[in-house]
Amino acid sequence: MTILRPIFYLALLAFIIAAPFIAPDFRTQLATLWIFIILSMTWDMTGGQMGYNSLGNILFYGAGMYIAAVVGISIAYNVGEYTNAAGGGIYKFTDTQYFLGMALGLIAAGVLCAGIAWVLGYLLFGLRGPYFAIGTLGAAIAAGELVSNWEWVGGGQGIALPVFPGDDYENAKLFFYYLFAVTGVVLFIFLRWFYTTRFAAAINAIRDDEEKAEAMGLHTLRYKLITWSIAAFFVGIAGGISGYQLIHFEPLETAFQTINLGIFMVVCVLLGGKGTLWGPIIGAILFHVVKEVTWNYLLGWQWVALGALIVITVVYFQDGLMGWLARVKPEWFGERVTEKPALAGEPAE
């Protein structure tokens, strides 16, 4: 087992790198798959591991998109004038301006989204269960509505970003695929370590019985704020990359898309299995593949089918793939009776 693990991860990494060349026609879809994976994994940090089911994580995606765009533009031009011209094409970016703007924009998106989560958390983490879900949903809808009335960032028209330098559009596709892939892989490595720490054990305690966790002296609010901020950091970066990939985006349907992507990530996690490392990833792949394969055959009914999928997943398959496995094969997840003579006391996995 122990020898197989590094081989498995190396093979996986090789596959991730090779994927856009194995299926060159699906580069954009593969990049989108990474968005799903990143958003699902970060949603699970609070939803699955901490027991705080947010319906508003999309807020960080939209905010990240806007922050990255505004920072990226502002290193070269006045943002208000730029958005006023609404993609008139008179604003040219040099390669340096483009990449430097994007890099600074993504960093700003991550950091500021973490900050937003911290501030918002002070208000919302006093709410439990359904109130938290509705409160976060409300925050996300409100953010979208407010931004769509904010003329400085383009109002309801949104922002048109500069196009990727060069004429070969395939280069842009590859660039954004790898940018998403790096973010996703970093997030995975981070979470793989994060879930083994004492900190993660503490947020699990909050999920299972917050009152008990408080009675045991855990600084619950601080732990919740840190966890949500980390999640928001990665979502913000993913949103920022999406903005540059899409070139043009607008507030309600693309950035703060509460009822599309905002709810997809929850469904992905439920499909794969809440509160596990691999569940959100498997769920995201499953959901994305099903969506891409069936979407075009549904002739306008795809959104209805999506609603139905949410209902069916929630009602009949809420434990997800991993939850189902844990029920069928509990011994795979380390449940066992150990006799006393084996006092070597091996640490639990």
Binding site: T197, N204, G217, E335, A348
Partner: protein, 247 residues
Amino acid sequence: MTKIIEVNGVSKSYGGVKANTDISIEVEKGGITGLIGPNGSGKTTLFNSIVGYHPIDSGSIKFEGQEISKKPVQDIARLGLLRTFQQTRIYGDMNCVENMLISMPHRKMTIREAFTTNTRADHDRAEHLLDFVGLYEKRFLRSGSLSFGQQKLLEFAMALMNEPTVLLLDEPTAGINPTLINGLIDRLKRANSEFGITLFIIEHNMRVIMNMADRIYCLAHGELLAAGSPTEIQGDQRVVDAYLGAH
């Protein structure tokens, strides 16, 4: 002997019902103090007031000389004043070792230390304490699948893992198989003597509390009825009357 908890003139009412009226008690550092009284006499309310579960109407509560009646639960717990629940509370979906490791004293960690993995020593300590309460064999079972009595023992072990200064136990023997009670008394006494943890115990079982405590307070109808050593309490006619309902 120094006073570690000083409750002074505490009153608490719910709506119109006075659950505690002007109660003053003291818990001595390093000792075992008992709290008895008939059902509905306000024992658990007093516990909840001490650990900050609800605000009190009047009076003062001091822990190691520091006023704590305005503090919320977590802040008080972080001072080292811990409680167990009458209806046991454990993390039912995790196994016993995980339950123990979660109970590590986070108040003694910096954020950087919280972002590290538990060491071998932590695991050993968790297993040692599970052995101490007699749950070693079941340590990798889902804790929710344990019997009520075993869950109580686990909660006790989790509290010890947290290295408290004072432990408030709400009816530790309720629901425990009578044949195991002697073992539990022994463990409580050892927690007190070996780990140096001050115990403050609500108990209905007279034999248990008379056996352990060096000082006992008796509540009735939300008021302090009597206080003294076990022999004094046993001989107090008012306590006998309160329990027989003659009051």
